[in-house]
């Protein structure tokens, strides 16, 4: 089982293995183990830090898989594993994944924002249509982390001063609405 997942999953493997270790309470928190202080988790039902739509569906199959293992249903186990493999392969092949954030580095968001993470040469870039910022990183986790730093940095810039052009004034209003003070 572990070997299969190791073969199949690159980045998602960390997520799944952590899920096994921590069971139900702290789901999928190993997203971005490099920077645990600031990393997003792709999905956390109870505390909600960030959601990847792809990971959301893979999580669903992963839960089915775990249940199958517990119940020793070999046939169902195989079926669910196939579905999980498909989803993970899809994540690996997809150029773009969409991640929802509801937390920055130190700030929480009242409403989630969607960011797109996609390959950019030898790394990854995270962007949002709502903000003229980006985060670049060696992997998706780094890029998301960089984006969160950038958005928080922008928030502090905009709330620290008021000599901005109109477009930034509008963005300031929007940020003040969605960022918890």
């Amino acid at each position: 089982m572990a070997n299969s997942l190791t073969d199949i999953c690159l980045d998602p493997q960390k997520v799944y293995m952590n899920y096994i270790r921590t069971q139900q309470k702290t789901k999928l928190q190993s997203w971005g183990e490099k920077n645990p202080e600031t990393a997003s988790a792709p999905y956390d039902y109870n505390y909600g830090v960030a959601i990847s739509k792809d990971f959301e569906s893979s999580h669903q199959y992963f839960e089915l898989l775990l249940n199958s293992i517990k119940q020793n249903e070999n046939h169902q186990y195989n079926e669910n594993l196939v579905k999980l493999i498909e989803v993970v392969k899809n994540i690996q092949q997809n150029d773009v994944i969409v991640v929802k954030l509801n937390m920055l580095v130190t700030k929480r968001l009242h409403s989630q924002i969607e960011i797109m993470v996609e390959p950019d040469d030898d790394g990854f870039i995270a962007r949002s249509i709502d903000f003229p910022i980006f985060g670049f990183g060696e992997d998706r986790f780094d890029a998301i982390d960089a984006f969160k730093h950038e958005l928080e940095s922008l928030y502090f810039d905009l709330t620290d001063d008021d000599d901005f052009s109109d477009e930034w004034q509008n963005l300031t209003k929007y940020l003040k609405e969605i960022v918890e003070p």
Binding site: D121, F134, S153, D157
Partner: protein, 90 residues
């Protein structure tokens, strides 16, 4: 697109020298371009790498309110600060 010609240091230097952007060092370098006494454009220059990947290059151009071709010109000299101000004021 001249992202293979210019690296992040070039962009930062040109931003500082041509557009008088003062970069602040954080996780990345960030700086504001001032127009008529107001902060108008915010440029991010990634740290820790030399080359600029294409999507990052295009996004940096967009941060300055330019298309890729105009950004190329800004970096390779033909586009002056005055011309740049005309573009973003239009």
């Amino acid at each position: 697109m001249k992202n293979s010609v210019f690296n992040v240091s070039d962009v930062k230097k040109i931003g500082e020298n041509k557009l008088q952007i003062e970069f602040r060092s954080g996780k990345e370098f960030n700086g504001w371009f001032m127009l008529n006494g107001k902060k108008t454009k915010r440029l991010t220059v990634p740290k820790g790498r030399k080359g600029i990947p294409p999507k990052t290059y295009k996004t940096m151009a967009m941060q300055l309110g330019l298309n890729v071709s105009e950004f190329d010109d800004l970096l390779s000299c033909p586009l002056t600060k005055e011309k740049y101000e005309e573009i973003i004021s239009a």
